[in-house]
Symmetry: C2
Subunit: 528 residues, 2 copies
């Protein structure tokens, strides 16, 4: 993969210095503080292909209007007293049943404060990323309790697995955020896990990390540890963590998620609002209704984040798929999910918000053909929507319950193709190869040896590493290995290429001291 030479550096500097403007609405938005030369070396990909628009402006407004009706008439439940107080004092209509109704002026006025793009600063400033605009960030899967590899099979994941996946994420050029709980470290008591997850990310990687945020207390530990790494003043002015705040659809934000949201927002960290909807279960068995509901839920959370702290960097992040209506099982890679994805992206653009798009979601239980097709049909359409952030871009298997080592490698192969795809079509003069086409190569000849080809043969086309393009005979002689089998080699080779990023001794020790102290303090009851 030939990455563009620092295509983003200039842009990042511009973002750091300017007040952001939220796309289509052209209203001035609050500046997002982040980056100040710390981002000069960024190599994240830019999407240089146009957005695929499937809805008219009127249709987008129709979704917007139905969403406002949901917010005005039906409302969203906030199960947290402090949150309700914040909402009430900001002018929302809070019912006795904790259901909060928002009028459209309240929504519009708070959306004004959202930055259109911002920088997620990495421990290694060369690896900081921009979230927004035409910038893309791919992050690994988050949350699976199980892990699977070709040799051992499916089992409960451990801390060692988590560290291994952080190293793989650090080593590949195709993931730009380390994400969070790539697998659950089941061998650590659940109430202490957050500390170990955050430490593992800072210790073994230096790309942007999300922290850990199942409840407010854990989010606060993430922020505290980030302050140890970056310094307290720096964290106050920069975004160094990024939480996924799940809406428990339909129309509900619980105290855990609200707790985490408040902590991150107050600390000036990134908050991604993710209504999680399988249409037919948490939303209606209809795409328009599902997108409108998800939109209302995302807006409610984003508006609330602005009430907590004006200018909180927010990502518009609905997770939309469908269920098999006859069995209730989730279905990934479905046509209807692609349709929903297109519309959700259009809504994000409507509001000038960074968009989280679908990752390599599959229902498959093995990294087989089903998983390959589902992953491609889940994630390729994301590239058509201007995906600013893609969680679950690698490793997701079995409805998100398992992180597969082999699928991780296969997804990286696909992400490599997507990087080249996103780089767009070059219209440079030498792309016409006029001399070769018009004069040098005769009818029936070939271009393999032309000067034009020789000058470009190393990088004119992306070269896959794991996929096999040899002849049947060569492939057979090499053992007739399936892609899954080759992937089992590929991730080990990637792991061998891992280089530990330096972490100064004092910081490491301070992190470990913090963890040791907190292990004795955390009350497991907090998680009940």
């Amino acid at each position: 993969m030939r990455l563009e030479a620092d295509p983003n550096a200039e842009r990042v500097m511009a973002v750091s210095g300017e007040r952001g403007t939220r796309g289509r609405s052209r209203r001035r938005a609050r500046a997002s503080r982040g980056g100040d030369g710390h981002t000069a070396g960024i190599t994240q990909p830019l999407l240089r292909m146009p957005v695929y628009e499937v809805a008219t402006a009127e249709q987008v407004e129709a979704i917007h209007e139905v969403s406002l009706r949901i917010l005005e008439e039906a409302g969203i439940a906030f199960y947290d007293d402090e949150s309700l107080a914040i909402l009430r004092s900001a002018g929302a209509d809070v019912g006795d049943d904790s259901v909060v109704r928002f009028d459209r002026d309240l929504v519009e006025s708070h959306l004004e404060w959202c930055p259109a793009e911002f920088v997620h600063v990495a421990r290694n400033p060369d690896r900081s990323v921009v979230i927004g605009g035409d910038h893309m960030v791919f992050a690994p899967v988050a949350g699976p309790p199980y892990v699977d590899d070709f040799e051992t099979g499916r089992r409960e994941a451990t801390y060692d697995d988590l560290v291994t996946f952080i190293k793989l994420t650090q080593a590949t050029p195709y993931l730009h955020s380390q994400g969070t709980e790539i697998v659950v470290p089941n061998d650590i008591p659940f109430h202490e896990r957050g500390l170990d997850i955050v430490y593992a990310h800072f210790k073994h990687g230096d790309k942007p990390t999300m922290g850990h945020y199942p409840i407010g207390m854990t989010a606060a530990d993430s922020v505290a540890m980030a302050r140890i790494v970056f310094g307290e003043d720096f964290v106050a002015d920069h975004h160094v963590l990024h939480a996924t705040i799940n809406v428990s659809s339909p129309r509900r934000l619980d105290d855990r998620m609200l707790g985490a949201l408040k902590v991150y927002a107050r600390a000036n960290q990134i908050v991604m609002l993710t209504p999680f909807i399988l249409a037919g279960a948490m939303g209606p068995a209809a795409i328009l209704g599902t997108v409108a509901q998800a939109n209302a839920e995302a807006l409610a959370g984003i508006v609330f984040a602005q009430m907590v702290r004006r200018g909180t960097p927010c990502v518009y992040g609905p997770f939309l798929a469908v269920v098999d209506l006859q069995s209730g099982s989730p279905v990934f890679g479905a046509a209807e999910s692609i349709h929903a994805q297109y519309l959700a992206g259009a809504m994000a653009r409507r509001y000038g918000l960074p968009f989280r798009a679908a990752g390599s979601y599959v229902s498959g239980k093995r990294p087989d053909s089903q998983s390959g097709i589902e992953a491609a049909l889940s994630m390729f359409p994301s590239l058509l929507t201007r995906p600013n952030f893609v969680l679950h871009a690698a490793g997701w298997m079995e409805n998100g319950l398992t992180t597969s080592y082999e699928k991780f490698a296969l997804d990286l192969e696909m992400l490599g193709i997507f990087h080249r795809y996103a780089a767009g079509i070059s219209w440079a003069d030498d792309e016409w190869a006029l001399e070769s086409v018009l004069r040098e190569v005769p009818p029936g000849g070939h271009h393999l040896g032309t000067d034009h080809t020789m000058e470009r043969f190393r990088d004119a086309f992306h070269r896959p590493q794991l996929f096999d393009h040899t002849s049947y005979e060569t492939w057979s002689a090499a053992g007739a290995r399936s892609a899954e089998d080759r992937a089992a080699t590929a991730w080990r080779e990637l792991l061998d290429s891992y280089v530990a990023p330096p972490l100064d001794e004092a910081t490491d020790e301070a992190l470990r001291d913090y963890m040791e102290r907190r292990r004795g303090e955390i009350d497991p009851e907090e998680f009940q």
Copy 2:
């Protein structure tokens, strides 16, 4: 899969009765004769999603202009004396080296005669299809000498395999043309194969068939057999066969392909011009040059077809992929191929011609994850280009050298998803599910039992058949079968569902008489 109730019937009648107009250019084109009530039952899919435009009108014109330079300055070799005479008398500049140069007026004036859409009539009139407009036709792979199945492995294909694949094509709702040589019947002497291939299609299927056309003589046998089936007068006025005419890129049409083209065009049958270019080998290692060269080659063939017979129904059909420039191997599912595909589609729309888009191409040697990803990345982007005809939509494996029974079933599964995808996003009132979203379902509730869901649970979402969406436990208890393994069951079940379409005794006997007579007459030397 819920297919729309006859969405095309009205449209087909309109096409039959009207003079076609080639899209963007808005010039009047010659009427295409085809369909006259024989197409009332058509159930082929319509593409109800917008085209994805990646090039500006100026960029499309730039490709057009470079193509005209190739045609005017470099020219295209036609290795056939009669073709050269036709070209010369039509005003082309024919060189002593058989290289023909076309000036732009000659190109433009002959493109005027191409119908924008036309009907490919099937033996069963309910299965006739429209080629052009928003209509899509999916056909199986064509040409592999090998066949592969999960149990037996890879081997030389036989006539029995061909018949089995014709039956599978007949039985599935997701293929609308029977294609041609789905596998090579290696057990029949090569010079007689064409007869058996054409007979097998008419005998075992009643969808539209392409005939067989490696040389002019075989194409003539296809036409003769079609006349036996449809009647001589009917064939004169209707399109019942469809040839792929490969340009031997770069810039060369040989006597075999020209022979077949002349026979089909003179008989008023469909001619699809297919420059076959792996960029870096038969075209430059650059996408713009490759697309411009392919465009020039396709235009040359289409213009020639109009010289042979004004109004010949033509499909604009470039086959574009890339090579690994370090090994020379073909690479399918590549980012650059997707870019090329988008531009080729834009050129077809520029000329108002039906477009042939990429099928389920893979380099994989097994129906594994690589093949799944490559197939999805080859064919899903086709849906963004307005694909009027997709050859190789099912069964392609190993760079097109093998037809895989299991991949055939897996591709059909993907085509099922694509059918639903193509049906588009419904903006009907009940897609909002307003009553459920606003009032019926409380915060944290679910939509599984609402009236709205109950009314739609059978067909709100497409239901995959082969892909597994059960839990890990259920999947394990059922044998933990890979998708490839389940596909081995799926194609056998599809075969069991095959119902032989009636073919009247007299026609069958006449076809067999014709074959018997011709077997004694065909000189194998004709193929040298």
